[in-house]
Symmetry: C2
Subunit: 615 residues, 2 copies
């Protein structure tokens, strides 16, 4: 009996079956696992799929369970519908078995695994006198709706691989493009990389594409920091020197290639088996990665050179994975609001929430998203890197030796990451320290630090930590005796100023955006805090110094590295990739610095007290 | 009054006009010149264009001249139709003024100039607070139906050029893709290159795209000949060594780059202004150019690795023109029948001729096309390079010093190219010499050369030229006294054998193909001879030795370098490019060596006499 071909979408997996096979069995044969709570007996109605041509007429069971309207729209039950011709079946994510879904760390729901890049094993007929098709045509014909990559390089190995393998190959397909072929059946060996390029830190996640499992994670500092620790200094460097632009493009790739080596080593995977890379980053970072001058970002009205998604080959970009792998750089929203903010929206699903909600990613920049019943505003504040430890006298990232918690009773209690000597203070320690010093009266609401002996009613031990020297007033968090390197870890008056400016930029911006969307901060149902800082910060302290609005704890939720989660979602799911592209077109970008009221709001938000005042 | 935009296709030229302007005036403003024999008075009906939206209702004049059916299909007279909104007008080639058409050397009719690559000058608004579009979007929006190139490199210069030029740029568009931008208005500076890569010779034509003029031509030997003088030896070399494959890809590009330098120098054009390259060549040549192994061509059933058209950037290929120029490699027909044969069909228009017609390109391979009322068969014979002088003891190309004509009366008369000393004999001289020696009886029909004193009734002077030495029998065409370098130019018995095999492959193949299409050689209306050889050969001699069928002279026509003409047509006209792609899909490829009767036909065609015998 002639075999029929059933193709399942979006995976593109295929099965050859005989006439009369159920779609459920065909799906199994194609490696597409469906939910069948009732065991495929036509009782539960869960194995919903969509198809038309090549299927038999609906059985009575289907009519009863689905109703006429659904049947007319092409919905069928996989366990009941039978294949009677070549068929193309669409499987909605909800019908996929849990084995084909995954929970990504930091995301509290499952997503369906349907990567943009997939493999198809092919046993091709050898050329013959009556079948003299060109090599490329032979492969393309076997793949159905797939086109050649159109790139020169991917053609070069084809003749050799076909003949060495006896025409048994595995095709690698990206979207609807054939990008590579491998010798023999290598279906399981296909990996992807999600990358979050931060201004300060770059994180890479190695994923096994067929299962969506994250096999290894690695992170490192973005070595572009040698050109400046914030995006403004890097834009300036790139604009004034072509060499600096080229060098910044180069160094970020060196870091990424190093991360690739590390994750591949840890997971025992060859980099050559990585066929897809999804990258998120702020607008400046994606420009610099591609070697595109960000000069438009350097002057009002801060226009990027490109905003849409970009796809380049790993070869063209110089990334050390399979040279024909596609590197997908997620779209930006505008100006300084990049693909990382898109990741924040994707992973929090703030676009789908009811009421007014706010998501904030406090990294080197502070990105803010305000959403109200699907309407989205996004903005970036030049908060500066204070919360990542930069421009703070003893500031450092949240690593071993960092003071990450500070509380004051009779004396100052500091918790040090790793429990050893203190080396400095990280963002959460900084916020804690300032909140506690305001509470005990050593710093006033305007941010002024009391001189030695000036503060009243402060425990003596605490009071004695206020010192004055040629730099001005300082507060000793950890004295030199128990500090690493013998230098005291202090908080300076200037540190307080930097922190005030950073938090005022975030709070003031958020406030203005809420107004833009027609809401007040007490209407905020959920405040989602992304980034490492969002995870570690003590919410009470953040509220106390007016960094975030004074909301009940239950309405404040840390969401982890949201940009990284977004990158993983884009890597593992083609529909999330499309969702990201749609969101990028929908979000309204607010340029805060262009907004009339911003400096007033900024000034109002400088005060170190819970905001808004009425709470 | 608000201005309206009128876009003309296929050129994409635009004009901004006020409401009520005639389409004819709008076309003039857009630089699209139309035929108007009656001076635009609505009398001749020649300025036919097609459009709908944005035009007024047809006037009485149009109704009378065009009729209801044409008007309903959207046809209008440009001189009568008025613009009342943004409009898109299609101009058929026949309506274009002669200034927009060109006669290509070797083609006896005009083609419309509508290159695949064009320039559009743009005066863009600068970014503003209420217009913060990304740089790329700003350019794309101004271009209408054009997409970004999708290639990384083309983004890199964009921000700088926009700002340096005050946002007055010229966009370079290839098909519907933006491939480059230039500072200021550079509309006139856009060039293209047509290249014919032969097994032995490479020819390049530099064309000014807006006018279609050929500004310079240069040719050189294909230096791949160091790996063998025919395609079979090159396939063998490429298959057995990756280094040889890479080296052959490299050396052909060195020749092309050298030709580019020469044509650009001669025409005083910067290579950087070349934005399009159209290449034809046989299947093996296009594989080697792209560095793709031709190994499938080395074994039965001789399948290529790719057959369809390929487009790569000049950067990726390493060709020394503008790096974002597109290199278009025309499609192949199959096996050994390449894009050069497609050029033969394109330029002879044999596909459009009535009755049975044959086109033959005798170069290093012999390509044959047989057409009957639009049905097309094509084949390649392994004729070998005898007619280009290879494998012939004193063979050489048709250059200075080559004997190109031979006639025998009381003695032998040789014409030497350049009128100086003889260096060797080229294809046409070879055919002449053999035809004449058969006529006087020194060579018999089987190809055997008489020994000294053996031939009867031959003039004494001629008879004395037959000599015998350790190599066998030879005939002295030019004695050593008047030869360059003091060595006699002779024709050997082996030379006769080589020529017989080459001509038998061509004649036998043609004969078999005619039979395939259901015709005989005396039904052939026109025999079109392409290639240098086709131009210089004496038809009587070619008929006399049975290289071509014995047809009246009036039915045999030399068509010049048909492959090169085809390349120029593909370069200058997008519709010819599409026509080429359609032809490539329609032509039936006959593999002569797989055809049962071929060796019998080949043997029959060895005889040195007019063929078929009955003529």
């Amino acid at each position: 009996m002639a075999t029929l071909t059933v193709t399942f979408f979006p995976s593109g997996n295929q099965a050859k079956v005989v006439k009369g096979t159920s779609v459920l069995d065909a799906a199994r044969a194609a490696g597409v696992l469906l939910e069948t709570p009732c065991g495929g007996e036509g009782r539960c109605g869960k194995c919903l799929v969509r198809g038309g041509v090549g299927l038999d007429a609906p059985a009575t069971t289907e009519k009863e369970l689905l109703g006429a309207a659904k049947l007319e729209s092409g919905w069928r039950l996989a366990c009941q519908a039978r294949v009677i011709g070549d068929a193309r079946i669409t499987v909605p994510p909800t019908t996929l078995s849990h084995e084909h879904r995954i929970m990504i760390e930091g995301l509290d729901r499952e997503i369906a695994i349907e990567p943009h890049v997939r493999k198809v094993a092919l046993e091709l007929p050898s050329p013959a006198g009556d079948d003299p098709r060109a090599d490329l045509r032979r492969v393309i014909d076997a793949l159905g709706d797939v086109l050649p990559s159109g790139r020169l390089q991917s053609l070069r190995n084809l003749p050799g691989i076909l003949r060495d393998s006896g025409f048994h190959i595995t095709a690698v397909v990206s979207g609807n493009r054939l990008i590579a072929v491998e010798n023999g059946d290598t279906m399981d060996s296909i990996y992807g990389l999600a990358v979050d390029i931060g201004t300060t830190t770059i994180v890479a996640y190695l994923c096994h594409l067929p299962t969506g499992r994250v096999l290894a994670t690695a992170s490192d500092l973005n070595s572009q920091t040698q050109y400046g620790d914030d995006v403004i200094s890097r834009i300036r460097a790139a604009t004034s020197s072509r060499d600096d632009l080229a060098d910044m493009a180069q160094v970020v790739k060196v870091v990424i290639n190093d991360l690739i080596e590390r994750v591949c080593h840890n997971a025992d995977v060859t980099p050559n088996a990585i066929y897809d890379i999804a990258i998120v980053g702020n607008t400046c970072m994606t420009h610099l990665l591609l070697g595109v001058s960000p000069e438009g970002l350097g002057t009002i009205p801060f226009v990027p050179s490109f905003r849409g998604p970009q796809t380049v080959s790993a070869r063209a970009l110089g990334i050390g994975v399979h040279p024909d792998a596609r590197v997908y750089i997620a779209p930006s929203i505008g100006g300084f609001v990049g693909a990382d903010t898109l990741g924040l929206i994707l992973s929090t699903e703030i676009d789908l929430m009811d009421g007014t909600n706010v998501a904030v990613d406090i990294g080197t920049n502070g990105e803010i998203v305000v959403a109200r019943n699907g309407e989205l505003l996004a903005s970036s504040t030049a908060a500066g890197p204070a919360f990542e430890g930069a421009r703070i006298r003893h500031g450092m990232r949240a690593a071993t030796g960092a003071i990450d918690e500070v509380s004051i009773a009779d004396d100052v209690q500091c918790h040090v990451i790793g429990e050893g000597y203190a080396r400095g203070v990280c963002g959460s320690g900084l916020v804690d320290a300032i909140a506690e010093l305001v509470r005990v009266g050593i710093i006033d609401e305007s941010g002024r630090m009391a001189h030695p002996g000036e503060a009243k009613g402060v425990p003596e031990q605490v009071e004695s930590r206020v010192i004055e020297n040629q730099n001005g007033v300082e507060f000793v968090l950890v004295p030199e005796e128990i500090s690493f390197g013998g230098e005291a870890v202090t908080l300076t008056a200037q540190d307080v100023r930097e922190t005030q400016m950073a938090k005022a930029a975030i709070y003031g911006g958020m406030n203005l955006m809420l107004e833009h969307i027609g809401a007040t901060s007490d209407e905020v149902r959920e405040l989602l805090l992304a980034g490492a800082f969002g995870n570690y910060i003590r919410q009470e302290s953040a509220v106390a110094i007016g960094l975030i609005p004074s909301l009940p704890n239950s309405r404040i939720r840390p969401v982890g590295n949201a940009a990284g989660v977004g990158a993983k979602m884009i890597l593992l799911s083609d529909s999330q990739r499309r969702r990201a592209e749609n969101i990028a077109l929908q979000v309204r970008h607010i340029d805060l610095s262009e907004t009339e009221d911003f400096y007033e709001r900024f000034a109002d938000a400088m005060a170190l007290r819970p905001l808004p005042r009425e709470h």
